[in-house]
Amino acid sequence: MILPFLFLLSGTVRILARILHPTLDRDAIDYLNIATEMARISRAHFYLENPLNWIPPFYVQLVGLGINCGFPAEGFGVGVNLFLGALLPVVLFLIAEKLFQNRAAAVLTGVSAAFAPVLIDFSIGALREPSYFLFFALFFYALLRMLESPRWYWAAGCGAFTMLAYFCRFEGLETAVFFLAAIAWAAVNRTIAVPRALLLTLSNLLAMAATLVVGIYLFVIPLAFLGRQFFRLSCRIANW
């Protein structure tokens, strides 16, 4: 009962907030314009025309898909975020429950997530954050489950959510570092045996690679773009 309650509560709060604040963010208009353009011409054509303005594809291509199915850009873009934003408190509830083994703390976490202004602000616009936050939270849930019972599929889930978060925002890749740190910590503490830790890491890497390949295929991403992103990140780190 708690999970549907949290979903309905956060969904209602977000819908009311959207009614009260209908003006979209400046970035949101950019994303909607990109999605509309992608729907108008082919995605591959769009990437060839805009090689310098590439953004992670998950959200804009999802909106583009909605436009191709006949939905209005703004309605679909905001609708997707309202849905994903309403799911987030549910996942945070599950995380808090695993983390503290305390049902009351989990409920309070879920309810406060349903009303947190920053989460609501992102959910009522056409922005990439709600999808990124959701995959980020799902990664942590999978990580906690893996640390609790070290099965390969939780490790693979972590890998898949890492890549999905990466397809929403580039900094989603940091979850890969969290996974490695967590598995190393568990191996050092001997909560997970070293061979099992290696197996989990392998499943994680394979899932990441598989999700990346499927994502590149589904999102029609030119490989040069990914290389450029890694190159830019390396340059920034080097400059720093």
Binding site: T23, A106, V118, F136
Partner: protein
């Protein structure tokens, strides 16, 4: 300061509750809670540290809220446990519920507080859209790069690059004045919108060197409660007299050739097709970019003209097309252009500087935007060509028009010779009867 801004972004009561959570857990939490709080704290420090080092914008930090919320939840549980040990279960429950309710109330007030000024942009855009319905061909110019104005107003919009956004900038008024002249053919009314400090004086027509009645302040929209900034909407109306004197003639009749004097452009009526060798020169740049359409040897090109495109604009897969088409708007041939990205046709022979009038007949097959560009240099066309846009015109689908544009090349001190260019930004047009004649004495006097 950074942490203050960060907590403002994430909402202070939640940050305070989460910090309280860490404090309470480390003071009286269970071993598991301490372990979890330590892990979350370590993650938080790592995430803040690399973001602080590598990225500047605060939006990157908003994901931290996902780590703060569980700490926020556990804070009230540990608090309840502590109070229950000392004051009993009922009081503990009441105090915890009250504090949590206060936190939620803060969140609700923050989210649902009425903010009428936050919608100034949308309100201004919708107001402009309503106003524009009275005009045949309205357009909107905005500065500041906020694409929401275009999105909500849904009328033809241009965001000229190169005009500074702030009024105190000394270049603002001269550049704005020049921009308004460039866009005077763009519509029968140009709404002009930008954000400005509320204390700044209104822009007047005299400052912009516009005629009386051409520049009008329409409305202001407050953007914040303290009235520091506002959106101002002005209207620039070139007017029928401006259109007749130095703008466009909205008729389908071509100008009388005899009265117009000598045409300084070679093959302005596009009646002479280029020989194969010259044809290759005309399309050299586009063919060199891999646009296979222009490699066709049967393609007819006009003598005395050249085709080009700005750097990075046209790629091999683009569907740009251009060439002589028959029948012409008058005569056997006209020049047809079709593109989704800027394609430029320019006269190859340079003309000495002076005050001229450019006239041309044009038929638009679909909605199009055309800029009239002058490429000029001090003496010869060796290197360092500069360009100046003399007008940006918008055409609806299936529209026939004859346009007359004054070219005041003499006003530019560094210009000695120049070429005329037609830059089709998008659309499909047929161009004919291009004439460059010395300006009439009346027009010379006005200029």
């Amino acid at each position: 300061m950074f942490l203050f801004h960060l907590s403002e972004k994430l909402f202070e009561p939640i940050v305070i509750a989460a910090l309280l959570g860490w404090g309470l857990v480390f003071w009286r939490g269970t071993a598991r809670e301490k372990y979890a709080a330590t892990a979350i704290g370590a993650l938080l420090v790592w995430m803040i540290a690399w973001r602080y080092a590598l990225v500047g914008t605060r939006r990157y930090f908003s994901v931290l809220i996902l780590l703060l919320l569980p700490m926020c939840g556990i804070a009230f549980c540990v608090l309840h446990r502590l109070i229950r040990e000392r004051l009993g279960g009922k009081i503990a429950a009441r105090i915890s519920v009250l504090l949590f309710a206060l936190l939620l109330l803060g969140c609700i007030l923050k989210t649902f507080r009425p903010a009428p000024y936050s919608q100034a942009l949308q309100a201004a855009s919708e107001w402009i859209q309503a106003e524009s319905e009275r005009y045949r061909s309205p357009a909107l110019i905005y500065l500041g790069g906020d694409c929401r104005i275009e999105y909500y107003s849904r009328i033809a919009t241009v965001a000229p690059a190169g005009v500074p956004h702030e009024i105190p900038n000394p270049d603002f008024i001269p550049l704005l004045s020049r921009t308004l002249r460039q866009y005077q053919y763009y519509g029968d009314i140009l709404f002009f919108v930008f954000k400005t400090p509320a204390r700044a004086p209104l822009l007047t027509g005299e400052e912009l060197e516009l005629g009386s009645g051409q520049w009008q302040f329409l409305k202001r929209f407050r953007m914040d409660k303290r009235n520091r900034y506002e959106l101002r909407v002005y209207a620039y109306t070139p007017g029928p007299e401006a259109g007749a004197a130095k703008g466009m003639l909205r008729s389908s009749t071509p100008p009388p050739a005899d009265e117009a004097g000598r045409n300084w452009l070679k093959n302005g009526d596009f009646e002479q097709a280029a020989a194969p060798r010259e044809r290759a020169q005309i399309v050299k740049i586009l063919a060199g970019r891999g646009l296979s359409y222009f490699c066709d040897e049967n393609l007819m090109m006009p003598e005395g003209w050249r085709l080009t495109a700005p750097p990075y604009e046209l790629k091999p897969y683009d569907a740009a097309q251009a060439g002589l088409v028959s029948p012409g708007l008058s005569g056997t041939y006209a020049f047809g252009m079709r593109t989704d990205k800027t394609l430029v046709l320019y006269s190859y022979e340079a003309v000495n500087c002076g005050n001229y009038e450019l006239t041309f007949s044009l038929e638009s097959i679909r909605e199009s935007r055309l800029a009239i560009i002058v490429y000029y240099a001090e003496s010869a066309f060796s290197a360092g060509l500069q360009e100046n846009t003399y007008g940006v015109l918008r055409f609806d689908a299936n529209e026939k028009r004859t346009c007359r544009i004054p070219i005041q090349i003499k006003a530019i001190p560094s210009a000695g010779m120049f070429r005329i260019g037609f830059a089709l930004e998008y659309g499909e047009i047929t161009l004919d009867q291009v004439k460059l004649t010395l300006a009439s004495p009346e027009l010379q006097a006005q200029q």
